[in-house]
């Protein structure tokens, strides 16, 4: 951490002692969320461009045909990949997905998978052939809280997704069978601890001051949780984070579905 980062962190922390955030938001207030579904619709069956404050994430869905898992021969397959593109931050390096990208991808994936958001049973085609939904998250500008932006983007893009036509063993590009069957809208909410406070949707300055964080992904139940980073929570703090996450997810879900 260089001196500028240290000063920012210090400033954020001291404001927080008075219960204030650097951009004057309430502790449980998200930055503005803008969702442009169908951003890459000329090529991708589904997509969504997310602005979460000045964090920018583009999620695209590709639909391929492949083999099911041997233990679920009649279910489709989903897979989630996150690319922390170096354009998004001078701190990201080029190269294969690293620890941070993998963790984000796996947390986003679990929320969608465990909530059953994609009705995988409807993605069966014929023996040994099922649809594979590739969820590719492309992080373009890291202004903080890319995990929530990725999660919001992923389910938004899935809601935008059309199922391609498939005839005689061939995918017909540009023709559609209907929508991808989506059953619910899981939303991740990341709670970070700064001093004795919990706040949601940290911006970049707040991430420097963050002690640790907990992401809770909910539908009408909890579907995924992930504490991430060095540092500790009390069990009361965890409970508070869960409450907040249910509440915020409900608000965000309306924006996503709206």
């Amino acid at each position: 951490m260089n001196i500028e980062e240290y000063l920012r962190k210090d400033y954020v922390t001291s404001l927080m002692r008075e219960g204030r955030r650097i951009d004057n938001r309430k502790l449980d207030e998200f930055r503005e969320i803008k969702i442009e579904k169908g951003y890459s619709s000329e090529k991708a069956p589904g997509s969504a461009f997310i602005n979460l404050g000045d964090t920018k994430v583009l999620v695209g869905i590709s639909m391929g045909v492949g083999e099911p898992y041997p233990d679920r021969p009649t279910s489709g397959v989903m897979t989630t990949n996150v690319e922390l593109r170096p354009i998004a931050s001078p701190l990201f390096e080029s190269g294969p997905p690293r620890e941070k990208a993998i963790e984000i991808a796996r947390v986003v994936d679990r929320g969608i998978r465990e909530s059953g958001a994609i009705d995988l049973d409807k993605l069966y085609i014929e023996e040994d052939k099922v649809w594979i939904a590739f969820i590719d998250v492309h992080v373009l500008d890291d202004g903080g809280n890319i995990l929530d932006a990725a999660g919001i983007g992923a389910i938004s893009a899935l809601l935008d997704t059309r199922l391609p036509k498939y005839e005689d063993g061939v995918v017909i590009r540009g023709e559609w069978e209907g929508k991808l069957p989506i059953t619910c809208t899981p939303v991740p909410v990341t709670n970070v601890k700064i001093g004795s406070n919990l706040v949601v949707d940290p911006n970049l300055d707040e991430e420097y001051a963050r002690e640790t964080q907990l992401t809770v992904t909910t539908t009408d139940v909890i579907n995924a949780m992930q504490k991430s980073g060095i540092g500790v929570f009390s069990s009361e703090e965890v409970d508070e984070a869960i409450e907040t996450s249910f509440k915020k997810a409900k608000e965000i879900r309306e924006i996503i579905e709206g």
Binding site: E103, E114, V221, M225, K227, G229, I230, S235, E237
Partner: protein
Amino acid sequence: MEEIKMAEKDMKLIVNGKRLDGRNFDELRKIKMEVNVLERTVGSAYVEWGNNKVLAGVHGPREFHPKFLRDPTKAILTCTYNMAAFSVEDRKRPGPDRRSVEISKVISDALSSVAVLEKYPNTGIDVFVEVLQADAGTRCVSIVAASLALANSGVPMKDLVSACASGKIDGEIVVDLMKEEDNYGECDLPVAISPRKGDVLLLQMDGNLTRDEYTKAYNMAVDGSKKIYEMQKKTLLDSMVNFVEGEQK
């Protein structure tokens, strides 16, 4: 994919109020712990927990490479979680996959939260976890073994790390899932705590839990962790006694 799951979706996991292996809902599997089991590490531990067999060892504090990533205020603790190819029924290709990268990270985070890393600026402390046989819950077994190995190495710690998972099977909240319960269950909630203060060091969840089920499951995992803590303390104490007795011989 760790293992192929069988297609029997309606497998009953609770029969007559008992789990498939005869355990009660709040009962842990059999556990065996040992420290100081390797010669080339500064600290090591071995844990058998149900059918899991996990070895942990520590190298360092030692020079950290590359130089420009050193931290002048503290040691960088890195845990590497690795599964032997033959630790699962369907052979796992050697080398890190995405799952092991994530587990390595969450264990590193948890251990770093209690180790007094400030004592060793500019160095690296490397904790290696080898899963020799896997049967659900390996991340908890690994963190327990890693914490023992770290304590055994003499790196000062504010507290031990104890861990245990709970989950939901056939609609019931139970502790410490074994393989079949993990495969066909509805939820997995691994928790690691610093047992003296009760702080949460690791918390992951996947599946589905209502708000109330979560509270029940969380408490069950914490209770399990506390039992583990007692075993960890005894193991470390016994090793010191052995050490003293060994010296006197």
